[in-house]
Symmetry: C2
Subunit: 246 residues, 2 copies
């Protein structure tokens, strides 16, 4: 073939995405674990909250990002195996998100003085994102793994699935940035950190801001890998003769 | 040509983008104008702040979005005219952003009790976004309008310019969502609105949340129009013979 794609730097970008994804998980765990009192379940709603940012970022940012990348990373494996891997990783992402949502609703409802739910822009966009993610999973499963729908429908749906796949990922990152902002203004400077407010940028504030910038960088890198036509998965020679395996 | 692009719905999507963009400008103007005391310049730093969200959204969301779309909308005009239009609209976007930044720094520095600058994640991502936008403008100008660089360099730079064009637009929207979140928690419930807090979702809170969701919807629609290969601008017959006019 004369149209051999240019895979220069591909591995480097994927590694950078892994480093950024893991760094975001570590930073949010350190923030919640070391500055916000650590983790607990329903016996302590204030600390149950701390599972919310951790689980949302593990699920809807780190795992979601990697699930998007599997088609590029496992470019020489059988397409069906890669699809199954994609679906399984996304199922785990949804599971983490569900537990993360449970944690925040519990922390509001079980607090001594209950906090209203679903009033902030963060909550509106966040719930929209999770619902779209769930729909995307169901439509993807029905269309590409358990194909009861006609090939013509799948061909129409595929670019929609791909577009929303990246769009919902970006929405998850944007929602995280708003959640981080809320939590920073609510909590930094509250007694557990010697009363230094966010505006004086104590260590906790710096960690928070770096976490946010790392999430943005991750979005940029995953977006770049996915939209670079050189990095797109090429059909293997067998696949070219099996249109149903698209 | 047998590969005539499918322009069905194109006009509809562009109209929806205009409606969403204008709605976001109207909503932020109503929020600042009717609920946050209206606008003033340096004689009243608290109300000078109100220019900040208004000008940033006019510049880095509404004008920026439309500047991105000009290549699709004016698909039959001479490429050079469209490039000039793109560069001029982006210059206005940058101008609005500059005044919007001046407004927020003034409102911090001229306040009776000055407020620290550049401590929040919103400010870190926001300044990064404006700097990248400015660099993108300069590189774009030098590469495509005042072409002192070789065609080979321009061919390498073009996909980078296109990718960052959409990425910086999304960063501007994400930064807006964080700024909206900050302002909502700071101000809703403060005396000017009868003390009903954001968590009780008064009219102001609903306007704020709708503004945020409209910005996200605008990002989704512009992203969709730009990434849909059917909507891409095709070179006119003359252009196909003038590679320098790419």
């Amino acid at each position: 073939m004369d149209s051999q794609p240019n895979l220069r730097l591909f591995t480097g970008w994927v590694l950078i995405a892994q480093v950024l994804g893991l760094t975001s998980v570590i930073l949010v765990a350190v923030w919640m674990g070391s500055y916000r009192g650590g983790f607990a379940w329903q016996e302590d709603p204030g600390r149950e909250f701390n599972y919310h940012p951790l689980f949302m970022i593990i699920g809807l940012v780190f795992l979601y990002g990697d699930a998007i990348l599997v088609y590029r990373v496992f470019r020489n494996e059988r397409k069906m195996y890669v699809k199954i891997l994609h679906g399984v990783v996304q199922a785990f992402a949804l599971l983490f998100a569900a537990v993360g949502l449970k944690a925040v609703f519990d922390s509001h409802n079980l607090a001594e003085k209950p906090i209203p739910n679903m009033y902030s822009l963060h909550s509106w966009l966040g719930l929209t994102t999770v619902i779209l993610f769930g729909l995307q999973w169901v439509f993807g499963f029905v269309s590409f793994l358990w194909p009861k729908v006609a090939l013509s429908m799948r061909t129409i749906y595929k670019p929609i699935h791909v577009y929303f796949g990246l769009a919902i990922f970006v929405m998850a990152i944007a929602t995280s940035l708003m959640g981080i902002t809320e939590k920073a203004f609510f909590s930094v400077g509250s007694p557990s950190y010697k009363g230094v407010p966010y505006s004086a940028l104590p260590a906790e504030g710096v960690i928070i801001n770096i976490l946010g910038m790392v999430l943005v960088a991750l979005g940029l890198v995953v977006g770049y890998i996915i939209t670079n036509p050189d990095y797109e998965r090429q059909p293997t020679p067998e696949e070219e003769h099996i249109p149903l395996d698209q």
